[in-house]
Symmetry: C2
Subunit: 131 residues, 2 copies
DNA sequence: CGGTATCCAACTGGATACTG
DNA sequence: CAGTATCCAGTTGGATACCG
């Protein structure tokens, strides 16, 4: 078939495990994608994001924004006036990221109902461990 | 331009935050995507996955497989022979998930070098907190 | 306004030992 | 072979208080 060795083509995966790890390290946390999502609408201030990303603590907003800035996914612009004005904006890479997550979100939208049903069915199965 | 109301289009996001949370709850953990990735090559046995997904513990392989089975992303087939033979295979939804993650992986492949550079530059900036 | 610092509870996941 | 059970270290992230 397509194997170059005699086996069953075990090592033919297009990307390596490291890439999967890396991308999860960037966006696999609780808040990053939510922030990127909101910034896809345009630049936003700290307090705007705080209000938009529901339930996020001040600490986590700061920490997550710093991480995304460090990775070059967004930029942080400080206007040293009184009161302070800090604006966050996606970089081209950040916008590409947002686009790259779209299919995953679409998958989620398409299959969420089915997944919830699968869960309910699984949990209702008599041979399933109760906890 | 593209705004349908007079303001700055604050609530025009196509998907809601809940979807983002949900999809991260499914694939945002350390191992799920790695397992889905390997199963995209075809059905695999427990011990095959254990060897293929480098570094995973027996416990986490079991736990993650159970979660993916519960969500209807893969099926678990037991052949009660001696020794036991358990095979895992992606469902159509699982295969769709694999496809939906492809752009994200591509994004990662395309921009990883740039991201690493951005990190190094950020960490080298004199005004950056050392820890 | 936009943070930083500290503390701490909950969860994640690795190591190890045992089982049908 | 394919798990389960237990223990425990490390990380995540929420609450709170304070600062420039």
């Amino acid at each position: 078939m397509n194997g170059t060795e005699g086996g069953e083509s075990r090592a033919a995966l297009p990307e390596d495990p490291c890439q999967v790890r890396e991308v999860l390290g960037i966006v696999g946390d609780k808040w990053s994608l939510l922030i990127v999502r909101h910034l896809s609408e345009g630049p936003r201030r700290f307090s705007e994001l705080k209000r938009a990303v529901d339930g996020i603590s001040q600490r986590m907003l700061t920490v997550t924004l710093r991480g995304l800035e460090r990775d070059g996914i967004l930029t942080r612009t400080v206007r040293s006036v009184m009161p302070p004005h800090v604006s966050y904006e996606l970089t081209p890479i950040g916008r590409a990221l947002r686009g790259a997550t779209a299919p995953l979100l679409e998958w989620s939208i398409t299959h969420l109902t089915h997944i919830d049903a699968a869960r309910a069915e699984y949990d209702a199965r008599p041979d399933t461990p109760p906890a």
